[in-house]
Amino acid sequence: MNRWYLLALLLVLAVPASAAEGIPGDADADGTLTRAEYASAALAYLDAAYMNGAGELDRDGIRDAAWVYARWDGKPREVVDSTGRTVTLYRPLRRVVTFSGESLETLRSLGFDMDKIIAVDKYSHEKSIFFPECREKVNVGSIWSPDMEKVLSVRPDTVILYATISTAACDDIQKRLEASSPGIRVLRFDCFKPATYAGEIRTIASIIDETERGEEFASFYGSTMDRIRDGTAGIPDDEKTRVYFEYWFDYTTVAASAGYNEKTELAGGKNPFAVGTTEYPVVDPEAIIVADPQVVVKLAGQGLAIGGYAGHDPAALAAIRSALFERPGWSRISAVKDDRVHVIHSDILGGAQHFIGTAYLAKWFYPDRFADLDPHAVHQRYLTEFQGIDFDLASQGTFAYP
């Protein structure tokens, strides 16, 4: 079949599943599901489902009506996503496609029913250890190369995209969805930025009606971040720890606009290369020696695929660290002389888990100030209590060395 005909067919099929604007069961369509309307809708559903009668709502419809009636007081829920756009929800999230692993992870932290995630981005799909439940879900590609046919074929009611990164790609996906299937709700969140994450936790918790869990998780997240902020507050600029943060690639650092720089600064680090507009500038090796960092942090992860959730290999991280010691002229750097060279994996610094990585940075930068901070314990609690995955940090994964 011609590809365009197939796409057109999918568009037609996708619309009825998702385009139903208005609260299910709201007979007079006045935007409020009253007790009488709900009762009538429920009875009509029972009639159709079990008594050979007729009724408009199917099982999902009556469940959605019950949700709106019980949890949203019979009214639509308005939420403001991280682009500042107000989205009106007439039904709960039931068939969700997410292009953002960070939002997916946050949904899991908040206890969202992961069966209602029907398709995920290719990166989350690949993370079979961290997202074992996503192995069998539909893979819709990435925001840069989305498989729109697949997105529409799974008939989502909600698609989640990033808010403030890769905005052109996400805008394009949103426009295509709105043009083809206006009933599909597009929500946009980042879920990786320290400045906005606590608010996003609460907003997403409100959407899925897990406000109590949201408060609990936001409090857990906030307690670590506040501990770091409080511990570094008041340190004069000239007394801050000088840090050379090296990206996956040799002699590539992070500048002011990079997220890793934000976390370095949050942890009280002073990045001598935090200038310029390039996010990840390549630096002159001699300039690093001249800057004489007190701490060196090397990032492992996607571009330096060692450790993380995918592998328990402390020796590999130790080897990366040893190689840094061998670099020409580095024996003159304070960080090397004082044995303050560390390797950290992007799994705990770049996404929703940035608070764990930032805690490691703070402890490395100011061991005395953060003597009581235990990033390893924070990490394990996050995995066990909030992510609900069976992952023992004592024997699985490698995230920070030493």
Binding site: A39, L43, L46, D47, I62, R63
Partner: protein
């Protein structure tokens, strides 16, 4: 198994076998004012509902038995032939009346749904027989009487097991 008499152990095994089957299970259970109504007698069916905030129950009466009324609000009840639908809105009990036919036996069957919990299931069948007389035609294909008596038997067996276990312990 230090100092545990064999008969006591046996009784405890009986207890563990029967009690869970008797007391655990569906959020909707049914009791009848009588399982052996007289001809034309009106008897009561009580549904006990636990933990369903918003949902529904659909009951199916045996042939010949007729719905005769309920204490449930009118706008939350629907009768269609032998089926009666009730919407559940924070209710913990629903009572309805049934008129027995001149003769006949069968099962009152039921289905429940919890819309918020997104679960559903069956209400255990309750057997009724006018004057206790089984009519093969109407009860054909349904569960044998021995199976229907299982919950009551389980409770009796469990109670007996407890008594014997206590007796064994004293010896």
């Amino acid at each position: 198994m230090i100092g545990l008499p064999a008969n006591r152990l046996f009784c405890l095994v009986l207890l563990f076998l029967f009690v869970p089957a008797a007391v655990c299970g569906a959020p909707v259970t049914r009791t009848l004012s009588t399982a052996e109504p007289g001809a034309g007698e009106v008897f009561e069916v009580s549904l006990s509902i636990d933990g369903i905030a918003l949902g529904g129950v659909v009951e199916t009466l045996p042939a010949g038995y007729a719905f005769a009324g309920t204490d449930h609000p009118d706008d939350r009840v629907l009768v269609r032939g032998q089926k009666i639908g009730f919407t559940v809105m924070d209710d913990t009990a629903i009572t309805y009346s049934v008129t027995a036919p001149a003769s006949g036996s069968g099962d009152i069957a039921g289905t429940w749904e919890d819309f918020l919990g997104e679960t559903d299931g069956e209400v255990a069948a309750s057997h009724v027989a006018v004057d206790g007389i089984e009519t093969a035609a109407e009860s054909g294909g349904e569960k044998p009487a021995a199976q229907e008596a299982a919950p009551q038997f389980a409770v009796v067996a469990a109670a007996a097991a407890l008594l014997i276990a206590g007796w064994g312990g004293r010896r």
